[in-house]
């Protein structure tokens, strides 16, 4: 019921919303919970296991019961806490975990079956037979026990992430937090004040960065705090260009924990009925939201703290039938306030049972003298004391310590730089408390963990069955394992176990809290990194040029590369075949910018190359390039590529596209850590230079048209593996390498990246008279298979130099990375699978990567496996499928017929083992 005055709600701003299809009205400043209570709605959800009717327990983020589905469609969000949902116009919420309706839930039959669902039910009930799990139990449990429903659609909103830095981070904008922030700010410190609640007028400090609706959910190493700012959760839809939430990494030199305390329920039978609430919550609803949660209340306490709740109820229109104080003697402060409102106080008494069907209707009070008195009421305000909200203090592994005087855990060790203040530090709470962990006769309907439906009886059962250690208790009963992480449950549960085992709470111990303090949406952690933005996309310098020619692109790592250039009516295969044949017969160009390029300079550059490559480098002349293989220190091949000597102390290395970053990091490691005395410098120039391959019998004809006349690029002057600096197109600086991946007469031309597109266009124009074509990664791949070059599929981290036919590149005269381990006998064993070519006996058969290789007469069982196809393609040059494979003793088996077995794709045929170099094995075309 809404009170006529008071509260911080804005009565001039009514707000319409619906719950389970029914329309209601609240005010600006309400939460969904306060607005529901104002409208007399007490039944809000059904419980997890037993489908018992549940209402609103708390007024904060600790709420275990009032979980609702919020919003519709793609924005539908399950398990939102009604106590934390700020009301906005048009809000739509639905109750969860009920069928067909909240009032008539058929699954509440679970309540009658409660013995089956008691502690450990997951482990016991569903033990046998195993096959029942998949078919019966799991679908049943999922249907019956799931809470809200996932939207099932992509999140319609966007999220941001960011860093913040400050001297002092204050967590919690209550009285203690505001005071701490103020004092830090006037000392000149940069202060951030975070609070999980809506903005408060009480915070008015311009020099403090105030982040309301922001939950600090985790403490991490080095003074780093994780926080989620709910930028637009209080709106129907985020404002234009605004994210739904922001995930902040806050780096703070110091922090002040001012998170207050969380009230403990009292454990009595049917303490989960709607209307049974925390006393502090009742007070908050009255004073902050101007809502009386009912007409007639009973207050059940064991300490003095609820005196303000008593006063708030007394001052409101609510009647208070009785104060039930479990202490033998109630404090004068309780007596005085009760007397002021003519409320009877029953000291040494407990509520032993609440009664009601869908909400509390009455309570039975066991009085000091053993009598039972019944009071009609629609609210039970209970307070078993308060627990400091010290969760963040244990995120770096510190454990809280038990304080007997206030019967609560208080912070002990703190994360570096953190100070706890106010109620979070255990200050001024639980005055004159006499702990009451459960009332006599609390049974299987006396709830400890409301969200996971764990009762006092479950904890006794866990003890009986030997699950006494707190970590066992937790997992066996699922105490504290729901989305609320047991904020209202854990201490009661521990204390009940202590009672059952005859130990103290400190002897029983506590589990440690882990991040996050409250649930965090994965979307917030991901921020903008989703879909195509999961990782950046790198475009080559010729991207626009390729696009204008209708190229189809393919992702290779972060890069987007032209895959093929289809002409009208061509599919990928037709386009690829045409491109391959054009290069073989005429000439083509292909962007190879994505290959890693590393500039290496210094007096010791050659010496350095000797260390990182397996083969020899000191004898490479200026103006020449050489193929090299790199190993990892464990002896396996890491990468390959060519390196050219531009001048006496200047080399340019290329790596594979995939390993560009890894190789650079590796070279820096070798230089900075292994050979620091070498005078050499490295820099990645992959992004600075565009590089285009020009390949085919007419390559030189085209090249001569763009290279400036002062440079002689004839075969005699610029032979195979030559390299040098030239100018092209009338003065544009370029680097020219006579390298071939295709097996044809070929060059690679590098220009500053900004000229990449222009170079491609110039080459196309110069090559027009020779029938030049652009070719993509598909044709590139076909030609490298035809030429037997190992690439990513063969350089898979499990192949040795010998496996790939590079054995002769392992120098015997020098140390190099991987030399020692590559010399292990097992890595040089010819019986290891090594590189071969494959050609189907029946040319119509198609080789596929991943197909297994068997002796031609062997049974297809794993024991007979002799290797697999690593790369395969249709070769338009030969008119049939070809493949590269790793085959046991392959090098010695050329000419043998083997069985290619690929049951998944119905492949089972014979192929001939051949030299992996299918095309121009003598290499005469390279030297043309």
């Amino acid at each position: 019921m809404r009170l006529s005055h008071g509260g911080t709600i804005d009565r001039s701003k009514p707000i319409n919303f619906t719950f389970d299809g029914q329309s209601y009205q609240g005010y600006a400043g309400d939460t969904l919970a306060s607005a529901l209570l104002a409208n007399g709605v007490k039944l809000v959800g059904r419980s997890f296991k037993y489908h018992r009717p549940r209402g609103i327990l708390s007024a904060g983020s600790e709420e275990p019961n009032a979980l609702v589905e919020l919003r519709m469609g793609a924005r539908r969000e399950p398990n939102t806490r009604a106590t934390m949902v700020e009301l906005y116009d048009g809000l739509v919420a639905h109750s969860q975990n009920r069928f067909p309706s909240l009032r008539h839930d058929l699954l509440s039959i679970n309540s009658k079956l409660s013995p089956f669902f008691a502690a450990g039910f997951y482990y016991k009930t569903f033990m046998w037979p195993a096959s029942f799990w998949e078919k019966l139990y799991e679908p049943l449990i999922r249907k019956a026990a799931g809470l809200g429903r996932n939207a099932g659609l992509a999140d319609a909103d966007t999220y941001e992430t960011g860093h913040l830095f400050c001297d002092v981070l204050v967590i919690g904008a209550g009285e203690a937090g505001v005071k701490a922030a103020y004092e830090a700010a006037i000392s000149g410190a940069r202060v951030i004040l975070c609070d999980e609640q809506a903005p408060s007028d009480a915070v008015d400090m311009p020099s403090v960065k105030y982040l309301p609706r922001t939950t600090v959910f985790g403490v991490y190493d080095g003074g780093t705090y994780g926080a989620v700012e709910r930028v637009a959760d209080h709106l129907a839809v985020p404002a234009a260009h605004q994210p739904r939430q922001r995930y902040w990494r806050i780096v703070a030199k110091r922090s002040v924990l001012a998170t207050g305390a969380i009230e403990r329920p009292l454990v009595f039978t049917n303490n989960d009925l709607p209307g049974v609430m925390l006393a502090g919550a009742v007070e908050t609803y009255i004073t902050r939201y101007a809502v009386a949660p009912g007409g007639r209340a009973v207050l059940f306490i064991n300490h003095d703290g609820a005196v303000s709740a008593l006063a708030a109820m007394g001052h409101s229109v609510m009647a208070v039938a009785a104060v039930v104080d479990a202490r033998a003697e109630s404090s004068p402060v309780i007596r005085e306030i009760a007397a002021a409102f003519s409320i009877p106080v029953f000291s040494g008494a407990v509520i032993q049972r609440a009664r009601g069907r869908l909400a509390v209707e009455s309570v039975e009070v066991l009085t000091r003298d053993g009598g039972v008195v019944r009071f009609d009421c629609d609210v039970v305000a209970m307070s078993g004391g308060w627990n400091p909200a010290l969760h963040l203090t244990s995120h770096l592994d510190d454990k809280p310590v038990w304080n007997d005087a206030i019967a609560a855990f208080v912070p002990d060790g703190l994360p570096p730089g953190m100070t706890a203040v106010g109620a979070a530090a255990g200050e001024a709470i639980n005055l004159n408390i006499v702990p009451l962990w459960s009332v006599p006769g609390a049974d299987a309907k006396a709830f400890v963990d409301f969200q996971n439906d764990v009762t006092a009886a479950d904890i006794r059962l866990a003890k009986q069955e030997g699950f006494i250690a707190v970590e066992h208790l937790k997992r066996y009963t699922t105490l504290g394992m729901a989305t609320d992480q047991g904020k209202t449950a854990n201490v009661n549960g521990l204390a009940l176990m202590a009672m059952a085992t005859g130990k103290t709470v400190p002897q029983t111990g506590t589990t440690r809290f882990r991040p996050p303090y409250t649930p965090v949406a994965l979307g917030a952690l991901a921020g903008p990194h989703r879909g195509k933005s999961f990782k950046p996309t790198r475009l080559t310098p010729t991207h626009e040029w390729a696009k204008s020619l209708g190229a189809v692109f393919v992702e290779t790592g972060l890069w987007l590369r032209a895959q093929y250039f289809p002409k009208m009516g061509e599919d990928w295969l037709a386009a690829t075949n045409r491109e391959v044949l054009a290069v073989r017969q005429r000439v083509g160009i292909c962007d190879v910018t994505t290959l890693g390029k590393i500039d290496i300079q210094g007096p010791d550059a050659a010496k350095f190359l000797e260390c990182v490559y397996t083969n020899s480098w000191t004898n490479l002349a200026v103006g020449r390039a050489r193929y090299g293989v790199m190993l990892r220190e464990d002896g396996f091949v890491m990468d390959d590529g060519t390196t050219a000597r531009i001048s006496e102390q200047h080399y340019v290395m290329t790596t594979t596209t995939a390993n560009a970053g890894k190789v650079f990091q590796h070279l820096e490691f070798c230089h900075q850590w292994l050979w620091p005395e070498m005078d050499v410098r490295l820099i990645s120039i992959t992004d600075q230079w565009a590089q285009i391959a020009l390949a085919g019998p007419h390559a030189r004809d085209v090249l001569q048209k763009i290279v400036d006349k002062t440079f002689d690029v004839s075969n005699a002057a610029f032979g195979y593996m030559a390299a040098g600096e030239v100018t092209i197109c009338g003065g544009t600086p370029a680097r020219l390498f006579r390298l071939s991946f295709s097996g044809e007469l070929a060059y690679e031309i590098a220009v500053p990246a900004r000229f990449g597109g222009a170079l491609a266009a110039a080459l196309m124009k110069a090559g027009e008279e020779f029938g030049i074509v652009p070719y993509g990664t598909e044709a590139l791949g076909v030609m490298r298979i035809e030429k037997g070059h190992p690439a990513g599929n063969e350089l898979n981290g499990q192949t040795s130099a010998h496996d790939l036919g590079f054995g002769k590149l392992l120098s015997k005269k020098k140390d190099f990375i991987g030399r020692a381990m590559a010399a292990r006998p097992a890595l040089m064993d010819q019986a290891r699978p090594n590189l071969v070519g494959l050609k189907p006996v029946n040319e119509a058969d198609r080789l596929r990567g991943g197909a297994h290789l068997l002796a031609h007469d062997a049974q297809p069982v794993a024991a007979n496996d002799q290797g697999h196809v690593t790369s395969a393609a249709y070769s338009p040059t030969f008119g049939h499928s070809i493949g590269l494979a790793l085959l046991k003793q392959g090098a010695a088996r050329h000419g043998e017929i083997i069985r290619v077995y690929d049951p998944i794709r119905n492949g089972d045929f014979l192929a001939e083992v051949v030299n992996p170099v299918f095309y121009d094995a003598q290499g005469s075309r390279l030297h043309a």
Binding site: L396, D397, F664, F669, Q672, L674, K812
Partner: protein, 92 residues
């Protein structure tokens, strides 16, 4: 976690790549034979309960390799030096 790079100052963990133990030393015998020293260097690592000296790479920064002294129990970092300086000191 935050690492104070000698070149770039205090930066977040996301900028760094972890490599591993900095206490193992590459054998200087030229590597002609896969001796037990090489096996130790390549494969065997201590996992100390406490202070560890390890190599990190400032990947999204200055590309320096760093020698970081870190307590494996609480992640507290007590020293950061450039690997280059440490390596020069080691070889002299």
């Amino acid at each position: 976690m935050r690492i104070v790079c000698p070149h770039c100052g205090e930066r977040g963990l996301q900028e760094f790549l972890y490599h591993g133990d900095a206490t193992v030393t590459r054998p200087r015998d030229g590597g002609a034979e896969p001796t037990p020293e090489w096996t130790d260097y390549v494969y065997f690592r201590e996992n100390p309960n406490g202070t560890h000296v390890e190599l990190w790479y400032h990947n999204a920064g200055c590309h320096a390799w760093l020698v970081v002294t870190r307590n494996l129990r609480n992640h507290l970092i007590t020293a950061v030096e450039t690997a280059h300086d440490v390596a020069l000191g080691r070889s002299s």
